[in-house]
Assembly symmetry: C3
Homo-oligomer: 348 residues x 3
């Protein structure tokens, strides 16, 4: 058979490596359309002049666009029969990507867990590269994947891989050019608050909201390159009431874009320590977001940047003024859809 | 507080100056998506070859894209609590912008008028720049802005600034390269009608219509960079019937794009003497447009271009064949949504 | 009258030639948005690195984007009053187009047939060019065009032109750079199957589906440059049930993009021998596609590429697993919307 409907749980083996198809040159065109999808307004990623002044050759590509491009490249090989993404771990952004550079990706199966019934859990590590084999991102994820039929015996050894709780702060941003902070214009960046101005435990309501319509959802799925099997179809879940499922990668990118209002100077995402789509988002929902500072670290050998560990929480149809989170029993409130644990880099 | 919900009426003082955040390099990607939003087909802005032949280095960015980018940059500082844009005056396009150039913007408060109750009127002048501080646009606008609560005393002096009724014709287009009219190809530009062919009082039905859907509306708001507070939310006005409010800047851009059919050679907008969103436009409406020639001027020292003063009227869900306008009492007909007074430049 | 509502049947004469307005420089921005519309994932068109490795200077523009740009340029002159496109014939892709090149177009009236009543059929041949007059595409089409009123006498001679049943295989791809097959990376291209692996009569279910929403439909019509008269309006046909008509060119482009899954190495469209929109597609429909191999030819003097003649069938709201086609009486099944006869070029 020359077309592929994707692999099922029993097709995976620990140690398998997939080189993915459809490498992609990321361009100014991608930057423009990503802005239309997310409304991102970070000066470093929006202005070549700003970027050059502080030490980049031109404006770098938004980190979550790189994430989405690499993720999508992996889907035909490992994700077509995934029911749900259960989480991300140890995601590191390893090199900036600039317009005109070409991204390709590889995924290794790092774990398998048969949960009985019609699905199993597949653990994967995906790495994105640009020219010369330079790594730009790597991340682990685990996802529920369908079996061809119920009761398929576990064809493979079982292995739940160790996953890091967080990326160590000491190596964050080692790939970034040293920024010329004397050229850092707080008027243009959108905020005078730098690394030293944030306190552990501080919470920030990002205030704005972004409504996700059907058109943006369909265009985003195709734009990222995610083959059109799950997302474009009306979600059959009764919660959807005929609306469509929004790709998780778009929700994450929108959460990041919303964080501009309060974290304007957090110009690089260095790591996604952990991330989870807590609940599905359907078209017609408005996404809000809030953050809390859960860590602060200096970085060895860097006077220009400090690292902020930020928990970024996204909600649907619920402004974030009250910082919606978990209830007393530890369960997420119904409005919470996104929970990210990020290392952000910010000028000192 | 590190995030900003924007300024209220009582936060403004005459003479305040805001340098806006989020400078933006305008690219071929922006040109492509702007075309998708508006359907603009002017040859000078669409074809590098056409532009080079007549004297530009490459195709310039559409004037109303420049307008929307600059306008959006001002919103976080001066527009988040605006209820309505009441009008524009004295908008001049001062230099062409080409792909790769970076636009930033500054706004000065030029007037304040307390209207009692929960809102006041703020008068603003916004200027956009590119590299070297070259001005590309400036315009005045006034808008109704919320107070934090009713009855807030007027914290500032009152001043209704003088605003020009029109931009003088003599300096229009002084920044433009002299066009080589021998290379002006009327087949490619879409019309044989030049400046001399239009008569005072002449009316033109632009015939076409553009339906504004929800996806285009949401994408446009984010693409222009307008923080997502008012536009993405269903408009609570009873007139909206659950539909969403279309950003005025998109309606204006579409009106301009529609004017191609009848004004194909009006390749530069030199000034917006005055402009008004007469009524809100909701998603699902089809925009039509008509124009009337209200002025014709030669420009000192320019043999290549003449200036046409054009009133461009946009309607919703009403073709423009009957030139919908005001009723006998001077009130706009319900279908009228846009009323622009423009200086357009056209080859002689 | 300075604006144009387009020509009616009686305005056409055999031999008329129209040089179209609005030449367009195709850019990286167009490539990005075309991807958002179609989800196309062919490596050669997505990656500059892949393209350079095999012999192109950079990634070429997708052939069906070129088709849509050229088609749209012709509409203001010959298509504003078309009721339906009846078919395409003899469409040849004559030269690759790269970002930064400018496309213009010319159409000749090659036939007329008065069918009585309110419409007639107009036969057209459209040719697209880039710099230096290099032809990039030409194709014939015929369409039903309205008369100004019923019973208008046939103003012109009648002529049903001869149209080729297929483009001869011997000259296909003569304009393409010779590909360096040693650099052809089957991992990146998405398939190990090359020209020699496909058999006459083989059928391929392309498996994926693409849902066409309202936003994508409106944006596509404006993006391609098709003046907004028919497509943005809700289709008055009772079959539409309030939904909007999807431009045929978008359906064709999506069909091609879907064919990636099964024909990943079919990197160039050399010809559209014949093509037909079998039934209208309305927003909210999901497009699926299947192909069958109807011809295989070697190409004189080319060791790198072979030609596959492929019939590509698109369906709406009906997966292609059963290869929906015609019924026993020869009539298309209701789910069939697209029937294309293509010459595709594939590495040997």
């Amino acid at each position: 058979m020359k077309s592929s409907g994707g692999r099922y749980y029993e097709d995976f083996r620990v140690g398998q490596v997939f080189r993915h198809a459809s490498p992609r040159t990321v361009t100014d065109g991608d930057v423009a359309f990503y802005r239309a999808l997310t409304g991102s307004r970070f000066a470093l990623q929006s202005s070549d002049d700003f970027a050059r002044a502080v030490g980049h050759p031109v404006a770098p590509i938004d980190d979550f666009l790189v994430f989405n491009v690499v993720f999508a490249q992996s889907v035909p090989d490992v994700g077509l029969n995934a029911v749900a993404n259960l989480g991300y771990a140890g995601c590191r952004f390893l090199s900036p990507v600039y317009p005109g550079e070409t991204i390709s990706a590889v995924t290794e199966v790092i774990g398998l867990r048969d949960t009985g019934g019609r699905t199993g859990v597949v653990y994967l590590r995906t790495t994105g590269h640009k020219e010369g084999g330079v790594e730009v991102i790597d991340f682990a994820r685990w996802q529920t994947v369908r079996k061809t039929e119920e009761g398929v015996p576990p064809f493979s050894e079982q292995l739940v891989p160790p996953l890091p709780a967080a990326v160590p702060a000491d190596a964050l941003g080692s790939h970034l050019p040293v920024l010329d902070l004397s050229a850092w214009d707080s008027g243009l960046s959108g905020s005078r608050f730098r690394w030293g101005d944030y306190e552990l435990g501080e919470r920030i309501d990002h205030l704005d909201g972004i409504l996700i319509d059907e058109g943006s959802t369909m265009l985003a799925a195709r734009f990222f390159g995610n083959p059109a099997r799950q997302h474009p179809l009306p979600f059959s879940d009764e919660r959807s009431r005929g609306r469509w499922l929004v790709p998780g990668g778009l929700v994450m990118a929108i959460g990041r874009a919303l964080s501009f209002n309060g974290l304007s100077n957090a110009v690089h995402v260095a790591a996604l320590n952990a991330g989870r789509y807590v609940a599905p988002v359907f078209t017609g929902s408005t996404i809000h977001a809030w953050s809390t500072i859960v860590g602060k670290e200096l970085i060895d050998g860097r006077d220009d940047l400090g690292a902020l560990r930020v928990r970024l929480v996204g909600t649907r149809d619920q402004p974030a003024a009250d910082f919606p989170d978990r209830d007393d029993a530890g369960a997420y409130l119904p409005s919470v859809v996104l929970d990210l644990d990020l290392w952000l880099l910010m000028p000192r």
